[in-house]
Subunit: 392 residues, 2 copies
């Protein structure tokens, strides 16, 4: 086990009716907030009215900024920063999924940053201060409700960058599984693929003597795999949503990766897909993850045997490592297929024309830096290219 | 799954050499601290010198108060409160195990409480403020390094009471498994029994649809059961200690009990043993837990079947529920025996003379209140008495 520093301050307020408490939850922390969200869905569902009433009842003033889109954009972040400065906002309340939250975090740190907030992403600058962020989660997927991470797309340069800092960990995250009942099937599936990937990125490691986090990762993955298919037939299954929603938070609050060298190659490879083709992040991960597994398992077969047996339920009796691993990967692909996720890049609507470019961007080669991604296996751009090829 | 509110703000700084960082970790939060600890062991081991050097290097002033004993006492808490007020202490640094930490938390809230701090325990008063507490953990067991709980013994009345509040959650907890190398065997075993009980108290529930926390509880229990025996032969096994130490924190930070009705009968019953006979908390739990299981399993056999199979590794093939459960309990007792823990009250040096009194104190009957303890099965004083009888 490696040394680690675990910091999970976000207060998770979970369950039926909790969205109506947001005003009272925020009250000790702010008198004026920015209400930040996406499109009209929260207005149609009545959630917007509930939030506004709760803020009003608690005597909290607010200004609002809607219009967050998937793969949230820098231009809206700029707008939010200007608004917060002008209106002396003390806290940002994101109502939505990972995109609204990531955008809120960008605004939260941008308010105190002299110069363009994009520089923080681009240059990995250390921040000293950020506004507190509170959340009402409407899509369980990104885990951004508990993490200190944010991913923003710069629509001018076509680049999508992540940034993480403890100051960006949300103050309060409200999660009511009932709010997930209206999600369309593809968003359910994409969310599930994303949260599973957050665990995979931490789970697949060469670090030894990590029994506890191994077992916690496996427990969380099995819970997701068992409960997600229940949502295909009944998207109003509160119990299944409660497991999935809670699992999505646990997946990405940091705990499961403590003491382990982490990987993150699949996320890096997927960010290139999303930036180039604007595909759904989870769908991209569902395509790339099995391809990555097929390419890297030989670097640590025991880890993949463990995954196949403990997570995918492959029989220990098979003995032959390669057979066990191939069966484990096949079962994962079969699970993704059951969830209606694409199996190939082609299925994502991506042809082969930009794979070399994406691979080179992914590792920095394209920008003149000879980098590598991944932990379990270090991947250079040629490796990434090969994985894109496997995923075609 | 029940609605829940999860708040785990304690920053866990984990691994080799971390105790030397304490000054730098505290520096942003306080200029003057109370250094609170037990006996001479931290002086003998050199830990005291490391801490003093680290505080000096960071320019942090300190006053000190040693003398914490197991089942920490109210009188020393009073002394600490007076010292903190006189010296304008801004943070309490506990160096030790659960006793030093619980004592530090009592002082931390006592500083701001008008009147006797014991009233907070006795009457369950709501607190508004507490000094921050930082920790260097030397005994993994109580989980107090991440919890908001404190247990104090009033040596005048012979009563031992617990209290919990989010404001008592530690700010920073430093944990270096190397500091556990010198623990005597009985403290290793007691600590393991205590952390397992923290999970059992959350795990055994009648709440349904709690797949994720079920699986996380089982994962953590299995990790403890696998790694603890390694310490019997080699108490300098860093890897095993890292698992046990981390598991002890996860066991009691709150996560594993979210959304579940919890039990806590065994802890309540054990507090009476400790108060009456000053036995080690973990040893008392190891005696009472199997007795409790034998008395209550019929109220929720499926929960105990799940425990027996998923935690204790009993074969699913046995089919007969009672047989599976009895085998599961027997395996747990066998594990405790392997760890050198006592099997009976007699083995703890407790005769039958005060069992009725303890049972009546435990549920409040003795004090004229007709209460019950437990969640999975509500236990009145007669039930508690029966469990003490089974444990004889």
């Amino acid at each position: 086990m490696l040394n680690f520093d675990l910091y999970t301050p976000a207060r998770i307020v979970f369950g039926r009716g909790t969205q109506g408490k947001i005003g009272e939850l925020i009250k000790p922390h702010a008198k004026k907030v920015l209400l930040h969200y996406g499109g009209g869905s929260i207005k149609k569902s009545g959630l917007y009215d509930t939030v506004v009433k709760s803020l009003n009842d608690a005597g909290i003033q607010f200004v609002e900024l809607g219009g967050v889109v998937p793969n949230p954009r820098l231009s809206l972040v700029h707008e939010g920063i200007a608004l917060c400065k002008k209106e002396n906002v003390e806290l940002i309340l994101a109502v939505g999924g990972g995109s609204a939250i990531d955008s809120a975090k960008a605004i939260a740190m941008g308010v105190f940053h002299e110069g363009d907030v994009w520089d923080i992403y681009n240059e990995g600058l250390d921040i000293k201060k950020a506004l507190p962020v509170a959340i009402i989660l409407t899509i369980p997927a990104a885990g951004s409700e508990s993490s200190g991470d944010t991913v923003i797309s710069n629509e001018e340069t076509g680049r999508k960058y992540g940034y993480g800092h403890p100051l960006l960990r949300p103050l309060i995250s409200v999660m009511n599984p009932e709010l997930f009942f209206t999600l369309p099937k593809d968003q359910v599936a994409n969310g599930v693929a994303d949260m599973m990937s957050h665990i995979f990125e931490r789970y697949f490691t060469n670090t030894t003597h990590v029994d506890l986090t191994d077992a916690l990762c496996e427990a969380t993955l099995r819970t997701i795999i068992t409960n997600a298919p229940r949502l295909l037939d009944n998207r109003k299954d509160y119990d299944a949503w409660a497991e999935i929603g809670f699992a999505g938070t646990v997946a990405h609050n940091g705990l499961l990766g403590m003491g382990r060298e982490q990987d993150w190659a699949c996320h890096n490879m997927e960010h290139e897909l999303s930036a180039a083709y604007d595909v759904a992040h989870g769908a991209g991960l569902a395509v790339l993850t099995p391809a990555w597994m097929k390419y890297v398992w030989k670097d640590n077969p025991d880890m993949f045997v463990q995954f196949s047996i403990n997570v995918m339920g492959v029989s220990k009796g098979i003995r032959d490592k390669e057979e066990v691993i191939r069966e484990g990967i096949a079962r994962l692909q079969s699970f993704y297929r059951t969830m209606g996720l694409p199996q190939t890049l082609e299925g994502l609507g991506i042809d082969g024309s930009r794979q070399e470019e994406m691979a080179q961007k992914c590792t920095g080669h394209y920008y003149g830096k000879e980098g590598a991604i991944g932990g379990l296996k270090k991947l250079k751009w040629q490796d990434v290219y090969n994985i894109y090829q496997i995923a075609r």
